[in-house]
Symmetry: C2
Subunit: 485 residues, 2 copies
């Protein structure tokens, strides 16, 4: 640059949002760091510089003060201000040399599993995206009232870190709800509030798995769980599910899995329910092998024909089942609250680990959800949801039967927020997804959910964010791009 | 048990909250699982059982329906209902045999670092606990209004999963705030919203460290960071800080640290600020060694004498500094929101990892904080905080000088929410904490923050949850238990 210090000019811009003293400070700091103002250089007096820059003297005094507080200049007002010694940044080797740090083995595995970018999706007219909720059903007035209850000035609840295991009234409300509605047997102390299933699976994998340990999983299954187990060094042992869920009798005799991850109430994403004999056989298997079963009960509240089936956890008498549930599907996804029910020996390890990696969920939200449950709003909301989603599920099934008769297979169990559609083996899944998108319909490839190779062609349809009319129209359009066999 | 099926009695309790059909279902289920009702056993007709139990027939029909749906019984109404085959739980080896799963090496390290229980603390009349905020200062009315803005029925924001990297308007607002107030140089895309520093440190340790890798840390320092690095397999290299912060010139020449974790703006917990020459030397060191510096700027907003010093990140020209900040100290701890500014090459790995272990922070809270920043409430709130906490800091310093003159040492920098008090080397720290508690004053041992052995006797005083009067009274009482040398 070879800047001449005598002609020091700060290029101040009075129209900028940044205060003028701040601009002066930043510019002088830059010049010092880049050696344009050398060590020992005497800065112009504040009066002179203010005059030259046409700003108030106070502006320059403030800038000099800040430079002095940070050690860029020395000296006192009046006695001259000098650039400090030994603080220039050595010139960079190349102007654009940005350090690219090496990643750990874990980091490389995570990157290897990173999803590609999802360009163009937002334009789709009818999007069968999974995991949306139908926002019009949510009782916003109740929710707002419950939040406001805890936003008063005399409440100390917000001013301290919450309990790592969760807000106690919420833990109690969840334990009561699970006992009544899901047949889960637990004390409130066994309930820990989490941000979601992924946080829980990550902590469990780290607490329980050594590198190379086997984990039994369903295929198709929950792909983020696959990734979590894999990046944490586990070896997946997948078994293909059928209409009765996870085929326990096909567990290889030599299998040494320390964990089994399953979705017994409503197999994700295929559909179907784990039969009672299989439940009991699996519990017995876990008991003789010292294995733990993780039961992901992600959407069991959403059954549209009578009562949901009780949880596997309620059959366990020896502490071999870990139970996972979430509020994301039944309240709203962006809430980021779930819960885990742990056998007592795992409580201290889990809570210690969670305290270390994430101090706990926001107290305010937990307090509002606790009241939402305790005051009966939750079970009332569930009734509304079941009605609304049940109608949409029926619209979807009817549309599939009308427009694609005999051309696709799917589980007929009226439950959940999605349907996994199996196409004829000759179909090219990617082509169906692409052509559907071209006609304004978003459907999602089944491949990532399958561990078997080759995966049977299939697509995932989430229906919870669409109206019955949109669903019918979407399937009508989809039928035009699925080849008639 | 040798229960006689013919005298089947369900012990229904009409006063319980659980519906009667549910009680009947649960009791029958229990009897079937425990073999009291053997496979093939014919249940009494619904009419007969209802009569015997003095409940409506519909109650028993519902119970049988649920048992049949779950596979415990077979048969049709009218044709007889039979206990299904092969579903009894084998008798437990011992009645209280709860499985105690083995933990991984990571799990054992976490347990080894788990804090002991904190019994009896809540009784303390004057508690110098760290990390509290003074709830009366928080603008609850503004906050309530901002939250309510996003709780309208036509807003789809709540009904989808948020972006893993954070709510975009909040990332923009944070980038702008950091540029104006902290001299941080970054694009909004480099800002990722996190639940707190611990989540960020856990992810960074996993992304960047191989087992045995060295991490340079300050002592005394942030103990949860020590634990996070250690449980993730790192070897800590601690350097004792002085009044100018981390002694960069004492880094051992053979040190191969991949990470440096420091608190340059306000050394935690000792106090003091990293001098400019040390900042520049450290940056140069990191550059020649391909190391990364994690700058934890946990409370830099809270300076009570003029402007806070600019962040180290702003001096970095080659992507060697990761910047961490939090809203816990300046809004409220239970909010659980912080932010990290990453060099561009680390963005994809970090966001991928975060997406895997925790899908992202709650959108509603992020939207409210974004507006809180963008509409100027935050900087106004900071001015109030600085005034309130500055007064409390001054009260603490004055009380220490009045009641403990020459008997303790502490950093005089007016900043932060705590003071670390160094006692005379002959003092027994544990005794001071115990005796203070006995006189109703909560102070916290300094040992866990120190990695040097033996640690100099010290106690931590958080002042942010107390009034000036409580602070004065607390120090007066503390003076009676600290021996005059």
């Amino acid at each position: 640059m070879n800047h001449n210090p005598q002609s020091l000019s700060l290029n101040l811009n009075k129209k900028e949002q940044t205060p003028l003293y701040r601009q002066a400070y930043q510019e002088l700091r830059r010049m010092i760091l880049h050696g344009e103002l050398p060590p020992g250089f005497r800065l112009p007096s504040t009066r002179l510089l203010a005059h030259r820059e046409r700003v108030s003297r106070n502006t320059i005094i403030q800038a000099y003060d800040q430079l002095q507080a940070e050690g860029f200049v020395t000296g006192r007002l009046g006695a001259g201000t000098y650039v400090a010694e030994g603080i220039a940044i050595p010139p960079a080797d190349s102007p654009s040399s940005t350090f690219d740090p090496a990643l750990s083995a874990w980091g490389r595995r995570v990157l290897g599993h990173a999803p590609g970018s999802r360009h163009g999706r937002s334009r789709l007219e009818i999007d069968f995206g999974f995991g949306r909720s139908f926002s019009h059903i949510f009782p916003y007035d109740v929710w707002r009232r419950l939040l406001a209850r805890y936003l008063s000035t005399d409440d100390i609840m917000l001013s301290r870190y919450g309990s790592v295991a969760g807000f106690n009234p919420l833990r109690q409300a969840v334990a009561g709800y699970l006992a009544r509605q899901r047949g889960v047997r637990c004390a409130p102390e066994q309930v820990v509030i989490i941000s979601g299933a992924q946080q829980a699976l990550d902590i469990l994998a780290r607490l329980l798995l050594a590198p190379g340990d086997e984990v039994l999983v369903e295929t198709p299954g929950y792909k983020d769980a696959f990734t979590l187990f894999e990046v944490n060094g586990a070896a997946l042992v997948p078994l293909s599910v059928d209409d009765d869920g996870f085929p326990v009798e096909k567990i290889p005799p030599e299998c040494r899995a320390r964990l089994v991850f399953i979705t017994p109430s409503h197999q994700f994403p295929r559909g179907g329910t784990l039969s009672l004999p299989r439940r009991l056989t699996l519990l017995e298997w876990a008991k003789t092998r010292d294995s733990l079963i993780i039961e992901d009960d992600y959407d069991s509240e959403l059954r549209y024909d009578g009562h949901p089936l009780a949880a596997l956890q309620g059959l366990d008498e020896s502490g071999h089942v870990i139970y996972l549930g979430t509020f994301s599907k039944v309240l709203f996804p962006a809430l980021r609250l779930g819960y885990i029910v742990l056998p007592p020996p795992l409580l201290t390890p889990f809570i210690s680990a969670k305290g270390l990696v994430d101090r706990g969920a926001p107290t305010l939200t937990q307090a509002a959800v606790a009241d939402f449950l305790a005051e009966g709003h939750f079970e009332r909301h569930l009734r509304h949801l079941r009605k609304a989603y049940g109608e949409r599920h029926q619209a979807l099934v009817e549309a599939l039967e009308s427009y694609l008769p005999g051309r696709v297979h799917f589980s007929s169990v009226p439950a959940g927020l999605h349907v996994m559609l199996y196409l004829h083996p000759s179909c090219v899944e990617k082509e169906v997804v692409r052509q559907a998108a071209a006609s304004g319909v978003g459907v999602y490839p089944g491949v990532p959910f399958h561990l078997q190779q080759p995966a049977p062609p299939s697509i995932l349809l989430g229906f919870s964010g669409l109206s019955a009319e949109q669903i019918t129209e979407g399937i009508k359009r989809l039928a035009t791009v699925i080849p008639a066999i």
